[in-house]
Amino acid sequence: MKKILALIALGLTTSLVSMSASAHGPSPLKVDKSVTIKAEPAKVWALVKDFGNMQKWHPAVTNTKLEKKGEDTFRTLTLKDGGTILEKLRSADEADMKIRYEIVSSVLPLTDYNAYIVVKKGANPGESTVQWVGRFYRLYKLNPPIPAGQDDETALNAINGIYDAGLANLKKVAESSK
């Protein structure tokens, strides 16, 4: 659990390591992670689509506050270290078992983040595959030199940490609960 926060912290502080010698283009970044879960897709989907209860499966989230503003649905995630992430639900598609959302504002070292999580039938009966894909940019969008903690590496580290920890625990929760 602390791992992910440590990872984020690591990303924030050790960006000295990422000396991007070459100038970076305005390249969007992508993290694409999958996990196989020994549980029925419907059961896994029930956890994933529950936009207001991410703390049920993500170990870095202590609290989720759901809010409706007109047609739009938002959630505020409170992280272990007290930091918050405000996210907007883009869509939740029952047929495809796919949820899409974006970050409105957050403590994370990145911008223009949007993501989806999709649940599919696994290779074997009673199995699911969960794929989590995020697209975002590093915090600093201008010309190099890039300030410490605002580069591609830092942004990627943060999201890799969140996805790895989240999917591992989603697997644990889905496989253990009835």
Partner: protein
């Protein structure tokens, strides 16, 4: 040597067990006679098959069209035959390729590599990289003049556009332009260059003779993609942040703004100039717009995070590069239905007009 690399890249992309054996054999230091001879036999077999297939291609070349798709995360370009909808080649280019421009007469494809800060020049007869043009900056958008004499490259970071002579790629003129120049388009008479400037929310209209800005057209927020209709009469800028396209009549300068999907990126006009196809990156869809009525005819679901789009007017097919799902969606422009999906490479972008007629 070049041929060897060509072969090895094909081998890699096809994952032929026999071929991998050859590569392995080639790497071992001590080779016995039988190994070498079998290697030679196999290599020559492959060589002959290859040359056969190239011959076949060049024989029917008059009617073959290809889509050149940049894969930013794989540092490659996937070449798709638009009749068979198969990837016929995968070409290694510079680092983080994004933009593309094709020259059908010259038989060249130009690829902008954002991270290696250069432009790869591909000979489309054999799909090999024959030249690399250094750009000190971040080349993104590319476009070729209809007479194929000038390649324009937008340097996103240094707010300038380079005009590169295609017969002497070291001959470069440049102009300073608005903030973050992105997309480029050139009028059919080669006289006018249009540039979307993402951070100054305008389209700059440039006289290609003098490289001076004639005037600027205010469009929507964060214009990125830009495209001209075949006649040059209609110009469309795709405005990412306000989810619109601005359609400009280049004769009257009249501007119409039309709503499309979430975070649109690029667009392409139909051959009859009545319809505009727009990729919506955050909706995973393509909006088909009726220009006269300003209404959406239909919305087609494609792959994840669609970016570059070009139409093969002869085959009535629209090609859409999907950054998120690493593939290309093919739309039948007669029915506006999704025809097929072709796997390409990591982070397909294909920013620019990428259909080559060969």
């Amino acid at each position: 040597m070049m041929q060897f690399f060509h072969i090895s890249s094909i081998i890699e992309s096809n994952h032929l067990p026999d071929s991998q054996l050859i590569l392995k054999a080639m790497k071992t230091k001590k080779r016995n006679f039988t190994r070498i001879s079998s290697l030679i036999t196999l290599s020559s077999l492959i060589l002959s098959t290859l040359s056969c297939s190239t011959d076949v291609n060049s024989n029917v070349s008059a009617s073959q069209h290809y889509a050149y798709i940049t894969n930013q995360g794989a540092n490659t370009v996937s070449v798709i035959n638009t009749r068979s909808n198969q990837v016929t080649d995968t070409i290694h280019v510079g680092k983080a390729p994004v933009g593309v421009a094709v020259a059908s007469q010259l038989k060249r494809a130009y690829i902008s590599n954002v991270e290696s800060q250069d432009i790869s020049v591909i000979n489309t007869r054999n799909n090999s990289v024959i030249d690399t043009i250094k750009v000190n900056g971040a080349p993104v958008g590319l476009a070729i003049s209809p007479n194929e004499k000038t390649l324009y490259a937008a340097d996103w970071f240094n707010n300038r556009v380079l005009a590169i002579s295609t017969d002497a790629t070291k001959t470069v003129r440049e102009l300073s332009i608005g903030e973050a120049p992105a997309g480029l388009a050139i009028s059919p008479d080669n006289q006018t260059l249009y540039i979307t400037n993402r951070d100054s929310n305008d389209v700059a209209v440039i006289d290609t003779e003098t490289l001076r800005v004639k005037h600027r057209i205010q469009v929507g927020k964060h214009p990125f993609g830009i495209t001209l209709s075949t006649s040059g009469k209609l110009l469309a800028s795709v405005n990412v942040q306000d989810d619109t396209v601005s359609i400009i009549n280049t004769e009257t300068n009249n501007i119409e703004s039309m709503k499309v999907g979430y975070h649109p990126y690029c667009a392409a006009f139909s051959a009859d100039e009545k319809t505009l196809y727009v990729t919506n990156t955050q909706d995973d869809s393509v909006t088909v717009l009726d220009i006269a009525s300003k209404k959406t005819i239909t919305t087609i679901n494609v792959g994840s995070t669609p970016e570059g789009i070009s139409i093969d007017h002869t085959n009535h097919r629209t090609y859409v590069a999907n950054w998120g799902s690493n593939n290309v969606s093919v739309i039948d422009t007669n029915t506006n239905q999704l025809l097929t999906t072709i796997n390409t490479g990591e982070k397909s972008r294909a920013f620019g007009q990428f259909i080559l007629k060969q």
